[in-house]
Subunit: 196 residues, 2 copies
């Protein structure tokens, strides 16, 4: 194999990731066979696996990049931007996240790796939430950690439903519902119980 520069390696690596992403989005995790990865990337399996130890590793790299991208979006531009990004995300690719869920459940090593996937972004989201709490914009009758987890529940559910091809509320409705749930107005008295 000819020697290539670090920069060229990095570029090639990104090309493989981009092609693999299309492949996973089109065929799903199981259906994205090595043959299909070869076709999409235009490279031999030998060349591909020179950059990544396995198909699994390609997938996890992509999933981690996306998770990081969305976490940074939340940290930098706020929750509304994240919700919009989720709603506009390619449902086929969101579907690949079901594989992440399955792996999290069955693979302890992966579970640990995933928990640590975006420590910097996680920290910045925490700071953003704390600042919003300080500013009196978030309810203070529920621990901030639970508020953050609640938003996580919604984003996960959104990914699942969009991936499955089921309707979700539109982005504007979702944002209004989430704002009502976590905003400071919610704390002023115990919400009246609905019989919903």
């Amino acid at each position: 194999m000819p020697k290539i520069s670090e920069e060229a390696r990095e570029r090639r690596r990104d090309e493989i990731l981009a092609a693999a992403r299309r492949c996973f989005a089109t065929y799903g995790y199981e259906g994205a066979t090595v043959v299909r990865l070869e076709q999409q990337t235009g490279l031999s399996r030998g060349a591909i696996f020179n950059y990544f130890p396995s198909k699994d590793d390609i997938f996890l790299t992509l999933a981690e990049r996306d998770a990081n991208r969305l976490a940074l979006l939340w940290a930098d531009e706020g929750l509304e931007a994240v919700i919009r990004a989720f709603v506009e995300e390619d449902p086929a690719w969101l579907g690949a996240y079901l594989e992440v869920g399955r792996r999290l459940r069955t693979d302890a090593t992966f579970h640990e790796r995933w928990k640590q996937r975006a420590p910097e972004a996680e920290e910045r989201i925490k700071q953003r939430l704390e600042a919003a709490l300080e500013a009196g914009e978030i309810r203070d009758d529920i621990p901030l950690q639970s508020v953050g987890r609640f938003v996580g529940v919604i984003l996960d559910g959104l990914a699942l439903r969009l991936a499955a091809g089921f309707p979700s509320p539109d982005a504007a409705e979702l944002i209004a519902l989430v704002e009502s749930a976590i905003g400071a107005r919610a704390r002023t008295r115990t919400p009246r119980r609905t019989s919903a």
Copy 2:
């Protein structure tokens, strides 16, 4: 094969389902092999497949029963009861739902079947929501259908996170957050935008 009564067949069918449920919960969908199903049920594969055409069919029957049970719980006892049931559900079994998500995405026939899985319960949930709206308990500035879908997003996300072994808010916190999101108080004015 000896003739057995319809009642005995029904009982045997339920026994197979109960054993298979434990098997899916322990080993996941992929790991619940026919050999393991034989061990758990104490029946031969011939006997099992006399009751169900395939492992897939056993799984879908279980998933449909659970979905129906939870939908009826919502219709009869309200959202709070459903949220509690989700939080208390066996995470391993919730994990099997990831398989439902994957199938919904890739199998159009299954998608149609799943949409029709609990028409009676769906109708009763709709009536319950309509009654709560009439009673002024649910916000009326967002279509009721979107409110219902929002709750669906939360339940799906909850299943995904619990299945993956990640923390979610506890049941009481979740209920307070959801009540704030969909309750009538939310409608009285545009919620103040948080910078969360």
